[in-house]
């Protein structure tokens, strides 16, 4: 795997990340299509995801929760806008209350996933994430912040080792 491009647009509140994988498109698509594979990568290792609903059809819903080190659960959902297996997937991504119901007070991002064949048989995958407002982006990042913490710890380790 190699991340080949990252484009960030603070005005449009959009980030696009592109990575290349040796696996063919049909295989790479399975990390979205198979809930057991999805839950192995969506949440960070300290907040693993458990997918409880998974319907990748237009209008379909994916529901999951992430379990923290102290047993704390954080629920989230996707609503599928468009899907064309194995090349495109577009969905809204939001947080939910404890019963798993979408919380209207919590932010929603729109993600667009594109998988394309590489000449060597591998996959180029791009994910574009767009937020409606700075506040929504703040909330999503705050909720994903254990990764930010790990990153900061990694940077501190790097400084100490230098």
């Amino acid at each position: 795997m190699a991340v080949t491009n990252v484009h960030k647009d603070p005005e449009a509140l959009t980030m696009t990340i592109t990575a290349e994988f040796d696996a063919p498109v049909a295989r790479t698509w399975q990390v979205w299509e198979d809930p057991r594979q999805l839950e192995r990568w969506w949440g960070p290792p300290v907040y693993p995801a458990t997918v409880v609903e998974h319907d990748l059809t237009p209008g379909g819903r994916v529901a999951y929760y992430m379990t923290g080190p102290e047993g704390d659960r954080h629920h989230g959902w996707w609503r599928v806008i468009a899907v064309e297996a194995p090349h495109t997937l577009e969905f809204e991504d939001g947080f939910a209350d404890e019963a798993g119901n979408p919380d209207p007070a919590l932010p929603v991002a729109v993600a667009r996933v594109t998988l394309g064949e590489r000449p060597d048989g591998g996959t180029r995958m791009s994910i574009e994430t767009t937020f409606g407002s700075l506040q929504e982006m703040e909330k999503v990042v705050a909720m994903g912040m254990e990764e930010g913490i790990k990153l900061a710890i990694g940077q501190i380790d790097g400084l100490l080792a230098a």
Binding site: D9, I17, A19, D22, W41, A105, M137
Partner: protein, 98 residues
């Protein structure tokens, strides 16, 4: 800032005040700990500049300092970190034969 957020109760408090300002007594209700312990967590977040506290009558109201904490560019950097680690994990899944 990372010390301030390196605790599950404090992260939970931040998530709740991000949804709207709240009094300390309301914040303290769901936790199996004393009002004073919750007050201490809020004080750590306040020192880190993540929340502010204001006395309003008999209540102390806590609100998130969203705009002062992070700019859009900084948030996108953190979002990039989240997705880079997701791509890493996808890469790990894909190298293992099914």
């Amino acid at each position: 800032m990372f010390h301030a957020l390196g605790d599950a109760t404090r992260r939970d408090i931040v998530m709740r005040v991000l949804q709207g300002e709240s009094s300390i007594s309301t914040l303290a209700r769901p936790y199996p700990m004393s009002f004073a312990a919750v007050q201490k967590h809020v004080a750590v977040l306040e020192r880190a500049g993540i929340v502010t506290k204001q006395r309003r009558g008999r209540e102390q109201v806590v609100r998130a300092e969203i705009d002062s904490v992070r700019s859009a560019a900084r948030l996108l950097d953190e979002l990039e970190a989240i997705w880079r680690s997701r791509m890493d994990r996808i890469g790990d899944i894909l190298v293992v034969p099914e």
